[in-house]
């Protein structure tokens, strides 16, 4: 009668190969998942904005860089009041809006007598990239 002989010689190679394959498949799946689900949303635009308060006027000037959409939002907080959201396009001159963009040398002009003497907080949010591109707090002057 012929006896069966126990043989474990190939076990570690098989286990190693299965582990290697498992790790590779897992990594590949994870990376593919990340890449395919990546929203590819644009990054925050490289734009220079300068804000200031003069009397009852809040002014924000576009000082170069990428032109912004007219839908760009300005969140405005005057004193202890709740924030108000303004669209840039509503506060540019007609000439500035001709190209449907907020570009270099163009001014956002917001007039409100409540600004005088109060703390004014602004946050400019680019809608396309959903990012804050200017955040600032001013102490409004008392005016004449």
């Amino acid at each position: 009668m012929k006896h069966k002989r126990a043989d474990d010689e190939a076990v570690s190679e098989i286990v190693g190969t299965i582990l290697l394959l498992g790790i590779t498949v897992s990594l590949f799946s994870v990376i593919c998942g990340i890449v395919l689900s990546y929203p590819f949303s644009p990054s925050s635009p490289s734009t220079n904005l300068v804000g200031m308060v003069e009397g009852e006027y809040l002014l924000i000037e576009h000082r170069g860089g990428k032109a912004l959409d007219l839908g760009t939002k300005v969140s405005l907080t005057i004193g202890d009041n709740m924030s108000e959201i303004k669209a840039v396009g509503d506060y540019l001159s007609n000439e500035s809006k001709e190209d449907n963009l907020w570009g270099i040398g163009e001014w956002f002009v917001y007039q409100d007598s409540n600004i005088t003497g109060k703390k004014v907080g602004i946050a400019v949010v680019d809608v396309e990239s959903d990012s804050v591109i200017l955040i600032e707090t001013f102490q409004g002057s008392e005016g004449c």
């Binding site: 990594l27 590949f28 860089g65 270099i104």
Partner: protein, 293 residues
């Protein structure tokens, strides 16, 4: 004859290798397609900020020389023309050029005696970016102007001031800078940092009574129009209660400031000539003969 045998022994290794190679290619492609342009755009935008800072230093040097009026005292500032590509992956360098251009801007003063023209030279930096939008910084008539495809604006204001009280004459003081050059060192291009040397040469002050028009022939008329309009209005001119004092119009290559007949304007115009050279090796002008140091 040796027989070929079917065997699946190496299949797992090959599959694993393919997957690993695929993984690496996917990651590199993603970085190259998505992240490299964003990194490079940000790098070029940062470089433009550096140029803006360097132009403010150049303007400071020119203003200092205009104030102290000391000839034969050159001051060096530097401009970084471009920036390098990433040391890994595929990206492009950004280049730039720096030029001293003669007679690019003409300021014309018109009054009852006639018109006087002041042709002015400028210093101009132009970028050749690969990712970020192209910009130009221009030192013109004492102002620093930022220009890009959508328009232009005055980045650093010139010495232009207005004093006015209702019922009185309008007194305007305007300092214009003429950038001139000796020899041929007037243009450079590349991506490194290069010096630009400036030196006071000459100045002259003229008072023009009863000025009717101030015209600036320039490629950046919108920047000048906005700046002068804001300055005059902030000084109390064209106040709705007192009627119009001035009007500003622009055409393809000039900005024209016209004062109304009922307005009396006295202009104190300071003309300053600054010699400038790009690249090392200062050339001095000895009685009309250029001498290379």
């Amino acid at each position: 004859m040796r027989k070929m045998e079917n065997s699946d022994d190496a299949v797992v290794g090959i599959v694993a290798t393919f997957l690993i190679v695929g993984l690496i290619v996917t990651v590199i492609s993603m970085i190259q397609a998505v992240y490299v342009p964003e990194w490079m755009e940000q790098t070029e935008a940062d470089h433009m900020e550096v140029v803006a800072d360097q132009f403010s230093q150049l303007k400071f040097a020119i203003d200092t020389q205009s104030a102290i009026k000391e000839p034969n005292t050159p001051i060096s500032t530097s401009i970084t023309l471009g920036n390098k590509e990433l040391p890994f992956l595929t990206s492009s360098r950004a280049y730039g050029s720096l030029d001293i251009l003669s007679d690019e801007c003409i300021v014309t003063i018109t009054n009852d005696s006639g018109s006087v023209l002041y042709p002015l030279g400028i210093i101009k930096y132009s970028s050749a970016n690969a990712y970020f939008l192209n910009q130009a910084y221009i030192c013109e008539a004492g102002a620093v102007i930022l220009s890009q495809s959508q328009g232009n604006t005055i980045s650093i204001k010139p010495a232009f001031s207005v004093s006015y009280g209702y019922g009185s004459d309008i007194n305007i003081s305007f300092t214009i800078i003429n950038i001139s050059t000796i020899g041929e060192k007037r243009s450079i291009g590349g991506y490194g940092t290069y010096p630009i040397q400036t030196e006071f040469s000459d100045n002259d002050t003229t008072v023009f009574p009863d000025v009717k028009n101030i015209t600036i022939d320039t490629n950046y008329q919108n920047a000048w129009q906005k700046f002068i309009n804001n300055t005059l209005i902030n000084s109390g001119l064209n106040h709705h209660s007192y009627g119009a004092n001035f009007s500003i119009s622009v055409d393809d290559d000039s900005m024209i400031l016209k004062f109304t007949n009922s307005t009396t304007v006295n202009l104190k115009l300071k003309y300053v000539k600054i010699n400038a050279q790009i690249a090392p090796g200062w050339i001095i002008d000895v009685k009309g003969v250029s001498k290379n140091l």
